[in-house]
Amino acid sequence: MGETGRLREGTRAYLLIAAMWIRSTMTYRTSFVLTAVGNLAVTGLDFVTLVLMFAQVDTLGGWTLPEVAFLYGLSVTSFGLADLLIGSADTLGARLRDGSFDTLLVRPAPVLAQVAADRFALRRLGRITQGALVLGWALCAVHVEWTAAKVLLVPVMLVSGAAIFGAVFTAGAAFQFLAQDAAEVQNAFTYGGTTLLQYPPTVFGKDLVRGVTFVLPLAFVNWVPGAYVLGRPYPLSLPGWAAFAPPLVAAGCVALAGLAWRAGLRAYRSTGS
């Protein structure tokens, strides 16, 4: 089976399993409504914190509230998309511990697709909704001379950002093959990553910014292209085209995460633990 064949098979299996999980959660409607509302409220609290900070100051790291909200909206929405599509991969450790992961391996579908769709939860639309609302407000409130390139960059950022976060989730799942109990490590990169990107890069130490630009390139989710859209200098000197690099960076991340996943799965199948 070729790569496209696998992709098609995987997507098909993903949709089938996700549909089953939606039906499963709908048997507990109250629970669903409560967790959806809770999800929306918890993610909304991040923004409330931001607004409370701006009640005390006019700028943070030199950026205004609408500008920070622009970063926030991009970070939360793209993270929310990744979380919706593959966020449950962090429960892989639990499946490895209780042995139910083996049941996925005897089904005729790519394992990653099954893991990604595992416990698919529509309540995660709460985060996307909240991020999109803030992003919408920010787009109206920022002072930007919109050009075709800048307008186009907004959806490109969302899709690339979701792919970059998706790659982080996948790599985190692969890591769980090695350390089943250490699922929380990936929270540092997923939830930690989206929190980091909600603030302007100028707030953070140079080394931290270098790290998330060149090592774990989360900066391409919103910082680098966002700085270009807002016409603000990026704290590191990058070439002009870097603002348009997110799709390339995303493709690279996805490829690396795919390799990590394969290596993890291969290790599991040779050690059984």
Binding site: S31, A41, L45, L52, Q56, L60, A179, E184, V203, G205
Partner: protein, 266 residues
């Protein structure tokens, strides 16, 4: 076995139960440290703009941020302490067994949760805090008396935290499902404890409100005692008042719940 020894044994059990998850604890330390870094930088930027915001200087703000990470799981600020186990026992009906034990239900779970608290403090709290102290300037006291006063504030904070979560867990007797309550505990805990932003920075009436709610006893009070921003005795007074109110409320609800179980025949 004397009552004191019984509850000490329960507390040791609570400590041990959490101590078995070594890899998870290490992972938690790492995550708390990363979040600590992010939050510290945002505070530094905030206090750059507004020195003395909320009465803190920059080093105090940094200290607050790391203390928050150290106490995050210690005080189960977003839930997830022993009340999860209690909820599960209520849901499955195993609670009936607990009620027939010759021990007080509330004290039993308090002891167990304090054991958990101590483990999480040592296992998950100390390292991120020490990391913060090594890498950043922090406003730490030099006198042992202040550290001792801080320890007392921490103990009272743990009791208040338990009081809130115990009430939440007992609600399952009536609601039968803990999902909604857990969500509420999480949202209120994250916001009202001041884990994201010190409560003395929250402006206006909202700021006044959150500073008198029981969640203020958890992070804000111990932080202010540690940094000498408040007299220990006024902090203790506030914390102890809430502890008494919450534990008393817990007893009232508990006896109503017990009657319910007895009437329904367990």
């Amino acid at each position: 076995m004397g009552a004191g020894r019984l509850y000490a044994a329960v507390a040791v059990g609570g400590f041990r139960r959490y101590a078995t998850y070594r890899a998870a604890t290490a992972a938690g330390v790492f995550t708390n440290t990363v979040f600590g870094l992010i939050i510290v930088y945002t505070y530094l930027a905030l206090w750059d703009e507004r020195p003395h915001l909320g009465g803190y200087d920059q080093t105090q703000a940094v200290t607050y941020a790391w203390l928050g990470q150290a106490l995050y799981s210690t005080l189960a600020i977003q839930g997830g302490g022993t009340e999860k186990d209690l909820m599960a026992r209520i849901r499955t009906g195993d609670i009936a067994v607990d009620l027939y034990r010759p021990a007080d239900l509330q004290l039993w779970w308090l002891a167990s949760d304090l054991g958990r608290t101590l483990f999480q403090l040592l296992g998950r709290g100390v390292i991120p805090f020490a990391f913060g102290a090594l890498v950043f300037d922090m406003a730490l006291p030099h006198s042992a008396a202040t550290w001792a006063a801080f320890a007392v504030a921490l103990l009272l904070a743990a009791v208040v935290s338990f009081g809130i979560r115990y009430l939440a867990a007992l609600s399952v007797f009536w609601l039968l499902d803990g999902t909604g309550v857990n969500q509420a505990v999480m949202v209120l805990g994250i916001f009202c404890s001041g884990i994201t932003l010190p409560l003395n920075v929250v402006p206006g009436a909202l700021g006044d409100l959150v500073q008198v709610l029981p969640w203020a006893a958890q992070l804000q009070m111990p932080a202010d005692v540690l940094m000498g921003e408040t007299s220990p005795w006024s902090a203790y007074g506030f914390q102890a008042a809430w502890a008494v109110v919450l534990l008393a409320a817990g007893r009232v609800v508990q006896s109503a719940a017990t009657r319910r179980v007895v009437v329904q025949g367990g």
